[in-house]
């Protein structure tokens, strides 16, 4: 039996790093401090019935077991013969895997994109226009006296966000924890997060942008002529603006309620500008509630290696980026790509129908831990080990703080890490022998 402390949970962008895990005979027998989802993830690693344990290759319309070499060979063939392969997923694997994946995309002249494309891609577009006025989560814990969640429901998406970083913890300048802070939730529904807030503001669906514009006008000293905006009465808007201006350290967390709804990136653009306006009065910051545990890591690695955060087309041997053109859903819906490598993600569950209709027509290589609708449609399936449980690796928290995830148990026999699988595919694509060096961190 071995007890591991300070284990980092590889579920969501909160990257809680205080987990205790007890492992006995390569089985996780106890998990402490993790949330419901995190706990489920740790225990699920034991459950080999719901894992993919052997590589599979589609033959005569059916997926059949194959050797790893055969699966890698088939994957390399598919990718090499493609004119516009799409390499998608990435958000639930390590930065080390991203690094090999980007090299593979460059080698193939493919399009590489991650799940940012369907969560905070609009936030990236907004940052391109407005910048990003942010902080690390410890700053929120130590200083924040006003916390706003807008279109975000951490009680569901990031269960320990509230207790570790925002409302509940005692901080250096907030010794009494929750009593020293105020929580406001702005949403179209009275979510579970809204239920514990000091104040809930209901905004009409699709009118967030108008509400932000109204707030900005008031914050910047203008007069609001409307009786109400987006379903929120004028007095309430003015009161909210005053509250924000008078906070000592305010923070606006936003989620997919803003990025996925009407207005998309402009909602975020306007919200960042609101925070910028507030900085002429006080200290205010903004932060995206990033979902997958390493969705940020992919944005970081791709930015420093290829110059752009997501959706890069390497077709001409260099990186070209323009969401709307080079993003996964657009490439799929225009029917442009002719093969796909999907790793650590399940677009068949999470992409709209039109995208999947094309995906279903082209050869797919899926690298994943357990069966998903994507592996169901795949032509090559390669099982992989779980980063943060069965292999080490780097991940970036939602505030871009990088952490080193640790291995606490062995993967199922014969199952390799994403890094190792990708290295084998890359070597095969290049027609090279696999470099002898063992799996190194970066």
């Amino acid at each position: 039996m071995h007890r591991y402390t300070d284990v980092i949970c590889s579920f969501c962008g909160t990257l809680c790093d205080d987990i205790e895990v007890v492992v006995e005979d390569n089985r996780i027998v106890d998990v402490k401090h993790a949330c419901r989802i995190g706990t489920a993830k740790f225990f699920a690693s034991n459950d080999y019935e719901h894992r993919i344990l052997k590589p599979m290759v589609r033959k005569n319309g059916k997926l059949v077991e194959a050797s790893l070499d055969e699966a890698v060979e088939r994957a390399a063939e598919i990718l090499k013969s493609a004119t516009k392969p799409l390499l998608y997923g990435w958000s639930s694997t390590s930065c080390e895997a991203h690094s090999v994946g980007i090299e593979l995309a460059e080698e193939l002249g493919g399009v590489i994109d991650n799940t940012t494309t369907v969560c905070h891609g609009p936030s990236a577009l907004a940052i391109h226009d407005a910048g990003y006025i942010s902080c690390t989560l410890g700053e929120v814990k130590n200083r924040a006296d006003l916390i706003i969640y807008w279109g975000a429901n951490p009680m569901h998406g990031h269960p320990r966000h509230l207790s570790r970083y925002s409302i509940f913890p005692r901080g250096y300048f907030r010794e009494r924890g929750q009593q020293d802070r105020e929580l406001i939730v702005i949403d179209v529904r009275k979510t579970d997060t809204a239920k514990i807030a000091n104040k809930f503001i209901r905004v009409n669906y699709g009118e967030d942008y108008e509400l932000i514009s109204a707030l900005r006008k008031v914050v910047n000293g203008g007069e609001l002529h409307q009786e109400s905006v987006a379903g929120v009465p004028r007095e309430e808007i003015i009161a909210l603006a005053e509250k924000m201006k008078n906070a000592q350290f305010g923070v606006l967390f936003f989620g997919m309620g803003l990025t996925q709804s009407y207005g998309r990136h402009r909602n975020i653009d306007n919200a960042i500008c609101l925070v910028r306006d507030l900085n002429t009065h006080t200290k205010f910051v903004i932060m995206a509630m990033r979902g997958h545990y390493n969705v940020v890591g992919f944005n970081e690695v791709l930015s420093w290696q290829a110059g752009f955060p997501f959706a890069v087309d390497m077709g001409r041997g260099f990186a070209w980026y323009n969401p709307g053109e080079t993003t996964a859903n657009d490439v799929l819906q225009r029917g442009e790509c002719d093969a796909a490598l999907i790793i650590a993600s399940d677009p068949v569950s999470h992409f709209p129908r039109k995208s999947i209709e094309h995906l279903a027509k082209i050869p797919i290589i899926a690298i994943d831990i357990h069966p998903t609708p994507t592996t169901q449609l795949a032509d090559v399936v390669i099982p992989s080990a779980i980063v943060g449980i069965e292999v080490d690796g780097t991940a970036y928290r939602m505030d871009a703080v990088p952490l080193r995830l640790r291995k606490v148990k062995e993967p199922p026999e014969g199952v390799l890490s994403d890094v190792e699988i990708l290295r084998r595919i890359l070597a095969k694509v290049r027609g090279e022998q696999l470099a002898a060096k063992a799996e190194v961190a970066r």
């Binding site: 910048g131 942010s134 700053e139 350290f249 420093w304 260099f318 871009a400 961190a441």
Partner: protein, 566 residues
């Protein structure tokens, strides 16, 4: 690889060699006395210098990447496809990591230190350094707003402060103490700043003066290779030269533990401004230069401005806010718990702008008014003053009064009126250029095996296609600019990595960091205190904070015995 660089004009200031024709022998990555059966490179008619050493450049880490994230429009510039050897690259003011390595190598640089690493984000910095090929690397580590540092110094516990600094350098795998807007970074946690050396830091009851002098003392107690690396308060503010002059006096009571300065005042150009409003904005470079000339404890690097579009980035959060509110351009900020508060905003240095014109002149004035070239290091504070690959232009300006005059004609009259640049006729020679681009930098960093070509030095060499007997830099400044941009050869660790301005081999450099040992009892005391603080105020556990060595390319600890610190 064995090499003989034959018959070049060698400029090796640390060994007093000034353009002598001689051979340089290389074996096993080192400069040797003599070598047999070596490949001979004919360097006749060419300048041979030690590989360039970059002491202050924002090339890796969180805020550099925020610059990239924020500026896709910067990355449709300098676009080059992958080749058999090199990766696909792009980026102008925030080049991708691979491009950063390639571009430095083409300039003849073989070592670079990234200017500001927040310890909490150190893993990120090292991940990017890992992906910068061609260079030996290190990171200046931010400490001037660190809560532990401020607490220990406030209570006068310099020993504990020293133990903490030693621990932090090892945890972050950092190389030196970097101080940025001391106290101002913490004040920015509340949207405030400190504006003078005696402005107390909110809630911490300590002043910038105390932080600077305390860290200077700690640096010498630990006998670290580099001095403290100081970005003074009030960067970029009109009339800030007063603060700068005062700041230079602060560490004067401290004796250097090694043969170097006590403080490197970084990007001094941004700290040498007179006037009392943007309308009366003027140079005070002469006053600053005079103070540097008279102060044995201080050297500077320039932070030269070159006209064009760039991205400013610094751990000086309030300054970036101030700058972005002047331009109205997009602005990124990132307060980092217990440590620092960086910011990023684009900036365009326009020839038509009186302020930009003066800024351009100030950097050159500093370089020309300071007598001892070992006290002036060439930087652009990349990318703040300009991208680093503009160095050849700056070298040409320093070597040619005529070139400066030509440029002066194109820029706003304020450069003529509000600075002394037009009155200076000094011109640098190759020897002095070698000082400000390698020898002086290596000396300041305490890198015994770099910045020179003596036996035992690292075989890092740059060969430029310039014949000092034929070229008149004063007149042929365009040629100087052209040839310093593309070496004939760059040799890194004894291997030819650039030939005729093209990358011919991609190598990984080493990453240097400080491994200083202090008294064990003192360290135990420190760890107890840190543990308490981490649990309560950091958002990561202590066990997850230190950067593992696996992140470093060829990790190279510099062992320091400071066990006498107790």
């Amino acid at each position: 690889m064995k090499l003989i660089l034959k018959n070049g004009f060698v400029y090796d200031p640390l060994n007093g060699i000034n353009g002598e024709k001689m051979d340089i022998c290389i074996e096993d990555g080192k400069i040797v006395e003599d070598v047999k059966d070596a490949k001979v490179i004919d360097c006749s008619g060419k300048v041979v210098m030690p590989g360039g050493v970059e002491i202050h450049s924002h090339i890796a880490g969180g805020k550099v990447n925020v610059g990239r994230l924020m500026r896709p429009e910067d990355h449709i510039k300098n676009v080059m496809p992958k080749t058999r050897l090199t990766r696909a690259v792009n980026g102008y003011s925030t080049p991708s990591t691979f491009l950063t390595g390639y571009l430095y190598a083409k300039l003849g640089y073989t070592t670079a230190f990234t200017a500001a690493m927040p310890p909490l984000m150190a893993r990120h910095t090292h991940e990017e350094l890992h992906d910068i090929p061609m260079l030996d690397k290190g990171a200046l580590t931010l400490m001037g707003n660190n809560w532990f540092v401020m607490r220990y110094l406030k209570r006068g516990d310099v020993e504990l402060a020293a133990a903490f600094v030693a621990w932090l350098l090892k945890a972050a795998k950092g190389y030196a103490i970097k101080v940025v807007n001391p106290g101002g970074g913490e004040a920015w946690g509340w949207g405030r700043d400190v504006r003078s050396l005696d402005d107390p830091v909110p809630h911490f009851d300590i002043t910038p003066r105390e932080i600077i002098s305390g860290l200077a003392k700690v640096n010498e107690m630990l006998s670290l290779p580099h001095s403290i690396h100081l970005h003074a308060n009030n960067l970029g503010r009109v009339g800030n030269y007063v603060t700068t002059l005062e700041t230079m006096e602060v560490p004067n009571g401290t004796k250097p533990a090694r043969e170097r300065q006590v403080v490197q005042l970084t990007h001094a150009q941004f700290h040498s401004y007179g006037g009392d409003s943007w309308r009366t904005f003027a140079s005070e470079a002469e006053s600053i230069a005079k103070a540097v000339n008279n102060n044995e404890n201080v050297i500077i690097d320039i932070g030269q401005v070159v006209f064009g579009d760039t991205t400013t980035m610094t751990a000086d959060g309030p300054m970036e806010y101030y700058l972005s509110s002047l331009t109205g351009l997009k602005w990124a900020n990132k307060n980092i718990e217990l440590e620092t508060s960086p910011g990023v905003t684009p900036f365009v240095y326009s020839k038509r702008s009186p302020v930009s014109a003066v800024q351009w002149a100030v950097g050159l004035e500093l370089a020309l008014h300071i007598k001892d070239p070992f006290k002036v290091l060439l930087t652009t504070d990349h990318p703040n003053g300009a991208p680093f690959f503009k160095y050849p232009t700056i070298i040409a300006w320093l070597m040619s009064a005529r070139y400066r005059e030509e440029t002066m004609k194109e820029v706003h009259g304020a450069a003529q009126k509000n600075t002394t640049l037009a009155t200076i006729d000094r011109e640098y020679d190759f020897y002095e250029i070698a000082v400000i681009t390698r020898a002086g930098q290596a000396k300041s960093l305490g890198l015994a095996e770099k910045g020179h070509l003596g036996v035992g030095a690292d075989a890092d060499v740059a060969v430029y296609d310039l014949n000092p007997e034929e070229v008149d830099p004063s007149r042929d400044y365009k040629l100087i600019e052209e040839k310093f941009a593309r070496t004939s050869y760059t040799i890194k660790g004894g291997e030819i990595v650039v030939k005729d301005g093209e990358i011919v081999k991609v190598v990984d450099g080493r990453t240097l960091y400080i491994d200083a040992k202090v008294d064990e009892g003192l360290e135990r005391e420190l760890m107890r205190d840190i543990d308490y603080y981490f649990k309560r105020f950091y958002s990561v556990n202590l066990a997850n904070y230190p950067v593992q060595e696996v992140y470093l390319t060829n990790p190279t600890p510099v062992q320091i015995d400071a066990s006498n610190v107790r």
